[in-house]
């Protein structure tokens, strides 16, 4: 059942030390910045963060990293022109990194949400990123066995939610949100606006409320 939270602090309450936290967004589009700020206040540490990037500038995810609260990052693209916080932690051996091809990252999250135990994927076969992974020839092509990435918590951003947690997104801010929403035990979403039940077009709902635990307008 979806609860409408009064504050972002309420939306991230109870995140335990050592949790795996899925963080939506691609660049700043869809990034749940207010929920990340609340997670910084909340204090959980020893986190594994799963996100496409590893933080930009000094705010948001980068600020969480800077506080030493993240043990490991699983992402597709940590290195960016303004990823100095991550870069420093990584070079000084203070953070673990698992690089996953972007599509495989999305698919492993989907698998976690869809009850798929593992899948064979051609991406990455014969590369550094498949080293140590089981492979199998299927139709003459080498496939890598990939396992789900399941979150304890997901923090995502969306455009509108109704009071049941049905979500719509805006343009490319959709990105990882709908997949991460299916892949975590507790899913918190920040939206621009909470609307009444019956307002959203049932044909256009992207994430049904069944996946959403906590909604906050922020």
């Amino acid at each position: 059942m979806t609860s409408i939270c009064e504050s972002t602090d309420e939306a991230v309450a109870g995140v335990a030390d050592g949790s795996t936290v899925l963080v939506g967004g691609f660049g700043m589009a869809g990034m749940p910045t207010h929920l990340i700020d609340a997670l910084i206040r909340q204090g959980a540490t020893g986190l594994t963060v799963v996100s496409n990037n590893a933080g930009n500038g000094d705010t948001g995810l980068a600020a969480l990293l800077a506080e030493g609260r993240v043990r490991k990052v699983i992402c597709s693209f940590p290195r960016q022109h303004d990823s100095w916080v991550f870069d420093g932690l990584y070079r000084s051996g203070k953070i673990e990194l698992e690089v996953v091809p972007q599509g495989t990252l999305a698919e492993r999250l989907r698998a976690a949400g869809a009850g798929i135990g593992a899948f064979y994927c051609p991406t990455g076969a014969g590369t550094l990123l498949a080293e140590g992974k089981e492979t199998r020839e299927i139709d003459g092509r080498t496939h890598v066995l990939e396992f789900p990435i399941k979150g304890d918590v997901a923090l995502i951003g969306a455009h509108r939610s109704d009071r049941m947690g049905n979500l719509v997104y805006r343009k490319t801010a959709r990105n990882f949100g709908p997949v991460m929403a299916t892949a975590a035990t507790t899913v918190a979403v920040q939206v621009s606006e909470i609307v009444e039940i019956g307002t959203l077009d049932p044909e256009a709902v992207v994430t049904p409320g069944i996946y959403i635990d906590r909604v906050v307008a922020a």
Binding site: A29, Y90, Q102, P122, T127, L128
Partner: protein, 218 residues
């Protein structure tokens, strides 16, 4: 053949654009390949895909058209063309990995004579690995075109017998568009299709790869 000069970036982009069939679904990688968009014929019906969840992406956005929710894979603000569709990351990469894109154009550090691609990692010990969607694109698109200068700044060729850098994907490249030559990767090795500002003999002397001259016949 060597009478004309080597190509500038815009000429290379125009050459790639000319080879993209009308109505094709195309993903243009970050960097040099992005320029191809400017050279597609308006009536060609070519549809651009951006892996962060959109088809029918329009040109870069400027001024008031900038929308922080509408970015391309390089995190540059873009626009939406009529007939656009948005989808989430798992769907976007399913589209890619499933072989539905006709062409992707990628940059390269190195391409081998067999069509192996290295474009994500210099292999340097202190480099922070970051792959993004490169492996997914290289594995998924029906045709993979590489667009790059033929020689690195130190004069070393990027078309090589075997990639020294870590691979993005093995045997994935179909064509190589460079400033001095266009090459086709075939079952019988590399075939030079066009030469710009260099003779076949000179090119052959500078590259350490086995190839054949198909430029006369075209």
């Amino acid at each position: 053949m060597s009478a004309q000069a080597s190509l500038g970036k815009a000429e290379m982009a125009a050459l790639v654009a000319r080879d993209i069939p009308a109505g094709a679904y195309v993903n243009l990688g970050i960097g040099l390949p992005t320029l191809v968009a400017d050279h597609l014929e308006p009536g060609s019906g070519v549809v651009l895909h951006t892996e962060n969840g959109m088809l029918n992406m329009g040109p870069q956005a400027h001024g008031d058209d900038v929308d922080p929710d509408l970015m391309n894979a390089g995190k540059v603000a873009v626009t939406e063309l009529p007939g656009a569709a948005y989808f989430h990351h798992a769907d976007s990469f399913a589209m890619m990995r499933g072989g539905h894109l006709d062409v992707c154009v990628l940059g390269a550090f190195q391409v081998s004579a067999a069509g192996d691609l290295a474009n994500w990692h210099t292999g340097a010990a202190d480099a922070i690995p970051a792959v993004g969607g490169a492996m997914d694109l290289a594995v998924g698109a029906k045709k993979v075109y590489v667009m790059t200068t033929m020689f690195a700044k130190d004069g070393s060729p990027k078309v090589v017998p075997e990639c020294a850098y870590p691979l993005t994907a093995a045997r994935c490249v179909d064509r190589i568009y460079t400033d001095v030559a266009t090459l086709e990767v075939t079952g019988d090795g590399l075939v030079v299709r066009d030469l710009f500002g260099i003779t076949y003999a000179d090119l052959s002397a500078r590259l350490a790869v086995k190839m054949s001259d198909g430029s006369a016949s075209s």
